[in-house]
C-alpha cells in the first residue's frame, strides 16, 4: 500500500511535496509533452497541474480513489482546458519525430501504483483497435479525425471503439459511481 502524500502536502510538508514530485512528475510531464505542441507549453502545463494539485490537496479523499487518479483527473482537466483554449495540439509530424520528444525513463515497478498496474492489465484485455484508439486519444490528445486518418478507419468506428473501450475498462476496473465506493 503506497503512503498517501496529499494530506501531508495539504499541511505544508515540504518533504511530502518533494516525494510526490519524484513519484509522479515524470508521468505528468510525459503526458503533457504529448498533449502540447511545444516543450515550453508542456512545461507551463506541467507547472499548472502541480500548482493546482498543491492547492487541491486538502480535497483528496482516499475513499474516492487513489492519489494517481486524483492527480491524473486534474492533469487531464488542465491539459484539456489548455488544448481547448489554445486550439493547440501536437501535430502528427511532431509525434512522429522521436527526436523532439524526451526519452522515456524506466518505470520503477516497486513505485508503480497497484491501480495503474491494474489499469495496464485491463487495457491488455481490450480489443487491439479499442486499445489503439484510447492510446491515441487519452494518451496523446489526438482528435477523432486525426485518429481516423492515422489508422485508416471511419470516424464513426473511431468513436465506437473509444466509447466501448472506455466503458469496458470501467467494468474491468470496477470503478463505481460516487457514493458507492464501499463495494470496491
Amino acid at each position: 500500500m503506497t503512503e498517501h502524500l496529499l494530506p501531508r502536502i495539504a499541511a505544508g510538508d515540504a518533504a511530502a511535496v518533494d516525494q510526490f514530485l519524484r513519484r509522479h512528475s515524470s508521468m505528468v510531464w510525459g503526458l503533457a509533452r504529448r498533449f502540447c505542441r511545444s516543450a515550453e507549453d508542456a512545461e507551463d502545463a506541467t507547472q499548472e497541474v502541480f500548482v493546482e494539485i498543491w492547492r487541491s490537496a486538502e480535497r483528496f479523499d482516499a475513499s474516492q480513489g487513489s492519489e494517481v487518479t486524483f492527480l491524473m483527473t486534474i492533469a487531464r482537466r488542465r491539459l484539456i482546458d489548455r488544448a481547448r483554449r489554445q486550439g493547440r495540439r501536437p501535430s502528427s509530424e511532431l509525434l512522429d519525430d522521436a527526436g523532439t520528444l524526451p526519452a522515456p525513463v524506466g518505470t520503477d515497478r516497486a513505485e508503480l501504483h497497484d491501480e495503474v498496474q491494474r489499469a495496464k492489465e485491463a487495457l491488455a484485455q481490450l480489443r487491439p483497435e479499442q486499445r489503439e484508439v484510447l492510446d491515441l486519444a487519452l494518451g496523446q490528445g489526438r482528435t477523432h479525425q486525426e485518429i481516423s486518418a492515422a489508422i485508416g478507419i471511419p470516424l464513426g468506428t473511431v468513436k465506437s471503439h473509444a466509447r466501448r473501450g472506455l466503458m469496458r475498462l470501467r467494468e474491468l476496473l470496477g470503478v463505481p459511481e460516487p457514493g458507492q465506493e464501499g463495494g470496491r
Binding site: 510531464w29 486550439g87 473509444a162 472506455l166 459511481e177
Partner: protein, 245 residues
C-alpha cells in the same frame, strides 16, 4: 435516450474532451464522474514517463516550496503581542514621532562624516548572534552550480542577511547570480534578493542580501543564474543553490 445510449454519449464526450467543439459532460452526473476517473486511470497507464528537464524540476520544486511556506504560515498561530506594546495614547504617539525625528537627525549627522562601513565578512559575523536563520546551501540542478557550499544567515528583526559561498564558479560578463527569497507571508513569486558575482580562485565570497521588499518570514533562499541586468520574476531555469530549513 436509453441508459446505454446515455453512457455511450458520456464515454465519447470524455475520451474526446480535448477537442475544441466537444460538449462538456455534466459535472453532476455520477456516471460521468466514474467515467472521468476511468479515463484518468487509463491516462496514467498509457502515460510514457519521461525525464523531467532540470529547469522544470527546479520550477516545480520552487512552486512546491512556496506553497508549503504559505501553508505553514497560515497554519501557525498568530504571535501574541505583549500587552506593553499595545498601550495607546497621545503620549505614546508623541514619543514615537519624537524618537523617529531624533533618529533621523542622528542619522544625518553621522552620514556627513560617516565612517567607512566595516567589511562585509565583519558585518556578517556581527549579525550572527541576532540571526534567526542559518541554513546551508544545497546544490541546485544547474550545471553552473559547481561545487557550491556555504550558508545564508538572516535576521528577520533587522531585515539583514548575508550569503557565504565557496566553490561557486564565476560567470561570464553577460550573466549574474540572483538571489530569490521565498517569503512564507507573501503569496506569489519569491522576492528579489539582489544581483551579485563571485570572484575567481575558489576563495570564500560573502554577499549582503538586498531584499527588494520587506520579508515577513524567510522560508527559503534560492540562487539562480540570470541575465546581467537580472530578472523581475525568475524562470528558475538555472538554480545553482537552495537553502531551506
Amino acid at each position: 435516450m436509453s441508459e446505454l445510449q446515455h453512457l455511450e454519449a458520456l464515454a465519447e464526450a470524455i475520451v474526446f474532451a480535448h477537442e475544441a467543439d466537444a460538449a462538456a459532460p455534466p459535472a453532476s452526473d455520477p456516471q460521468a464522474t466514474a467515467l472521468q476517473r476511468t479515463a484518468a486511470l487509463t491516462a496514467a497507464a498509457l502515460a510514457h514517463r519521461c525525464e523531467v528537464p532540470a529547469g522544470l524540476q527546479a520550477r516545480l520544486a520552487a512552486a512546491g516550496l512556496q506553497f508549503c511556506a504559505t501553508r505553514a504560515q497560515l497554519a501557525a498561530p498568530a504571535p501574541r503581542r505583549p500587552l506593553s506594546v499595545t498601550v495607546t495614547g497621545w503620549r505614546t504617539a508623541v514619543a514615537f514621532v519624537g524618537g523617529i525625528a531624533a533618529g533621523l537627525v542622528l542619522w544625518l549627522l553621522l552620514r556627513t562624516g560617516a565612517p567607512v562601513e566595516p567589511p562585509v565578512a565583519e558585518r556578517r559575523a556581527a549579525l550572527l548572534p541576532a540571526a534567526d536563520v542559518q541554513w546551508h546551501w544545497q546544490a541546485g540542478s544547474s550545471p553552473l552550480r559547481g561545487d557550491v557550499q556555504g550558508d545564508v544567515v538572516w535576521s528577520s528583526d533587522r531585515q539583514e542577511g548575508y550569503l557565504r559561498f565557496r566553490g561557486l564558479p564565476p560567470l561570464d560578463a553577460r550573466h549574474r547570480f540572483q538571489l530569490w527569497i521565498v517569503d512564507g507571508k507573501r503569496e506569489g513569486a519569491p522576492v528579489d534578493g539582489g544581483l551579485f558575482a563571485v570572484g575567481d580562485g575558489g576563495a570564500e565570497t560573502v554577499v549582503p542580501v538586498r531584499a527588494a521588499l520587506p520579508i515577513g518570514q524567510a522560508a527559503a533562499f534560492v540562487v539562480t543564474v540570470e541575465d546581467e541586468r537580472g530578472a523581475v520574476v525568475s524562470l528558475q531555469q538555472h538554480v545553482v543553490a537552495i537553502a531551506k530549513p
